[in-house]
Each structure stands twice: as C-alpha cells, then as structure tokens.
C-alpha cells in the first residue's frame, strides 16, 4: 500500500496523465499524505505565515486544496468524476492581497497537477480589449495563449463590460474568454478580481461568467492590528524598525488614514512607509554628525508624524 501512496505523490508532482486502471485500483488513499507529497501543505503553511489576517480566504484556499486532492484521489480509485471547474472570482477592496493570493493559488494548482506550468499572467482591460474593430480578438487570444498552462488573473474585470456603450469591444473579449473558459478548462484557470459590488453587477449582467465561475472568494478589509502587523513585516523585510515613539505614531496613523478617502489597505500602508523612509533619509542627511548603524535602521515618530494625514486633523 505504501508503494501506491508513493507513486501517487510522484504522479501528482509530474505532469503525466493520471490513470490507474480500475482493476488494479488500490482500496485506500491517504489524503493527508497525498497533500503532503504534492508539497501543498507547505505552500498553505507558508501562506498562513506570510500573509497576515485574511482568515476566511485562507480557509477557502484550504477547502479548495482539499477538494482538488479528493478529486485526484477519486480518480485514482476509479470513481467517476469530471474535471472540477476551477475558475474563481476574488472580490475585495484594493490592497487586500488579491494578486498575492492569486500567485499562491497558481502554485497550489500547479503542485496538485491541475495546471501544467503554474505561472500567473496578470492583465487588465487594456491588455484584452483593442482600440478598433478587429483588434480585440487577436489581442485577447494572444493573452490567452500566454496564460495557457497557468493562471490568467484579470484585475478589475468589470471594466470589460460597459453597458453604457453597446458598441464597446469589451463584449467581444468576454465572448472569447467564455469560450476558452468552457472548452479548455484543463489548459487554463481564470481568476477575475475587483471590487465586491461592481463585480456583483458584472456577474448579473454576464450570467455566462457567473455560471462558469465556481469559487467566489471575498477578501475582507484588514483590522487596525493586522495593518500594524503588515507594516511591521514590510519594515522587517527592508531591515528597518520602529522605535517606541514610531510605533505609537504608526498606530495613530493607521486609524487616521482609514478614516480618509481612497484608503487602500496594505497598499496605503506600504506607501506611507515608503514616504517615511524618504523623510528619514532627508532627516539623517540634514545632520552634521556621523550616523550610526542603529540610526540608519530606525524610523522615528518624527518621520511618520510629518505626514499629511496628521496635518489635516
């Protein structure tokens, strides 16, 4: 039996056809081992460790991974099954980690053997829709060809459909996408992403998409503590740290920034930290005395409190 497990794992990693004849089908399959051997558990754990918050998203990813593993196991035991539809929609506000999760999703699907290459092609309306008649189809096909064997990530997918202009070329692109999503499910996984309410309108206007997208994952906004933890991780990656005053200032910054318009979650935080680093650099530069290693690595309250966010209050 252990041999069966081993061969199953190696088959999952490879791209070869997954076929065991019913008459020599094994009786049991160890699902946990199957996930482990495809190194999916590793990716999921890394996702847990790297991404802060997003509990419902992680839960859904685990469910999808388990579902895919079960489908593989069913096939191994000779049970009837159709290729599960894997097209997804990621909805949520900007900066909630949709693109990052899509990249991980591509990796998970690759390790489970559902896509052959596991690369992510991220596009927007501009990459799919042409500017004049006859320009759209080749453009969309070009993108689809590049995405074959991997995952096609369409950011702000609702821009493809413009109801106010019935001659809009977006419709042509949608038709080609739908056709490929239906006919080449084993070559390509499509992930549509965008704001929640606008995606809902988009799906209502395009029932074809709604029925072909099996998994809807909603990305919640981050809580203040989560944003703070994200800031910490971002700083840590760049070998920066906050002193005590800086931490307090950052917490206050998060609360104030959230109340302002155009708040883009983790992206706003990253921009704020980038600006704080600029201010730190000019503060150190303005000084006559030599700087220490510690000072170079520290962002203080002054760097953050100089922000526009504090001045407006």
């Amino acid at each position: 039996m252990s041999f069966v497990h081993k061969s199953l794992g190696s088959r999952l990693r490879g791209n070869d056809e997954f076929k065991i004849m019913p008459n020599d089908a094994p009786d049991t399959v160890d699902l946990a081992a199957l996930l482990r051997e495809a190194n999916v558990t590793e990716v999921l754990d890394k996702l847990d460790a790297d991404l802060i918050g997003l509990a419902p998203v992680k839960q859904r990813l685990r469910e999808i991974a388990a579902f895919l593993a079960v489908s593989k196991a069913r096939a191994a035991l000779g049970l009837a099954g159709t290729q599960p539809s894997l097209h997804m929609s990621f909805t949520g506000n900007p900066g909630t980690g949709k693109t990052t999760v899509a990249q991980r999703m591509a990796e998970i699907l690759h390790r489970l053997g559902y896509v052959r290459k596991g690369h992510l092609v991220a596009v927007t309306r501009d990459d799919l829709v042409g500017q004049y008649i006859g320009h759209t189809a080749p453009k969309t096909k070009e993108v689809l060809k590049r995405a074959m064997g991997g995952v096609l990530f369409i950011d702000e997918a609702y821009y493809l459909y413009r109801p106010e202009n019935e001659r809009d070329y977006g419709q042509e692109s949608i038709e080609i996408l739908l056709q490929v999503m239906e006919n080449q499910r084993d070559d390509l996984v499509v992930i549509l992403a965008g704001y929640r309410d606008r995606m809902e309108t988009f799906f209502q206007a395009n029932p074809g998409f709604k029925s072909r997208v099996a998994h809807h994952i909603d990305f919640p906004d981050y809580a203040d503590d989560e944003l703070f933890a994200i800031a910490h991780t971002m700083l840590g990656q760049g070998d920066y740290r906050l002193d005590a005053g800086g931490e307090a200032a950052l917490r206050e910054y998060i609360v104030r920034r959230k109340a302002q318009p155009h708040f883009a979650n983790a992206r706003s935080i990253r921009n704020a930290l980038d600006r704080a680093r600029l201010r730190q650099a000019s503060r150190l530069f303005a000084r006559a005395t030599p700087v220490t290693r510690d000072e170079l690595a520290t962002i203080t309250a002054a760097d953050l409190r100089a922000s526009r966010v504090f001045q407006e209050a």
Binding site: R116, K117, H119, P138, K141, L144, K145, R146, M148, G149, G150, Q184, D187, L188
Partner: protein, 138 residues
C-alpha cells in the same frame, strides 16, 4: 503519394498529444513556434502561407495547439505545418518543422520533360495538385 517534407514525415501521422509534446519540447528549448499552411506543397515552395505571426514567449504548448486547431478548422484540406524557430544569436534558423495536417488525397508529383535549345532536355517536378486552380486543389 505521401508528402515527405520536414521532420517525422516518414512516420505515421502524429496524434494531437504527440504534436503537443513536440511543441512542448521546442518551447522548452526557447524556440518560437509558428503555424503555416499551403495547398501547393512543391519541394521548392519553401514559403508557405503564415497562419498568424510567430508566437514568442509562450510557456505552454496549449497556446500553439490553439492556433494549430484554428488553422485546421479554417483549412481542413490543406497541408499545415508547425515550425520552431531559434532566434538566439548565432543560430537564427528553423530548428524543427513538421507537418501536422495533410489532405485526405495526395495526388503527388510528376516528372515533366522540357525541350530546350539544342535538343537539350530539362526536367522539372510538377505537382498534380496545381493543375486545378487555387481553392479546388484538395
């Protein structure tokens, strides 16, 4: 008469899976694939009509297969071939070229004699298919 041009032409016709595997090999070597078709397969006719521009930067064979199938659908009775072109400096040449579709009936070629000056005899290869006008050959 079975046309024997390009790689694998003495083998039985490749299945779609085998074609995809050959394309995957070409892509893994960094070659760009293109699809061409013709209804005039004379050995000296090296320039077949292009089915779209060559496809650069594709990671997976499914993208090329998409075009192969589209070409077959548009020209169900033409010859269709896949070329793999190596654009790296120092090579810049076709590395692999094989036929992926042939018409059901291949009339073949004949040897035609031509009287030249001084009772000299010239020979040329004549494709029977070209006796008919374009579009009615196969």
């Amino acid at each position: 008469m079975r046309l024997t041009q390009g790689t694998f032409s003495f083998l039985p016709d490749l299945t779609n899976k085998e074609i995809a595997a050959q394309i995957a090999y070409a892509l893994s070597r960094g070659w760009a694939c293109s699809v061409e078709y013709t209804d005039d397969p004379h050995p000296r006719n090296t320039y077949w009509s292009m089915w779209g521009p060559p496809m650069f930067d594709l990671p997976d064979a499914a993208g090329v297969m998409l075009e192969v199938n589209a070409c077959r659908k548009a020209f169900p009775k033409h010859y269709v071939k896949v070329n793999a072109f190596d654009n790296s400096k120092g090579v810049e040449s076709m590395q692999l070229s094989f036929i992926v579709q042939r018409p059901p009936e291949e009339p073949g070629f004949g040897l035609a004699r031509a009287e030249e000056a001084g009772r000299k005899i010239g020979y040329r290869v004549h494709s029977y298919a070209t006796d008919k006008p374009e579009g009615q050959r196969y």
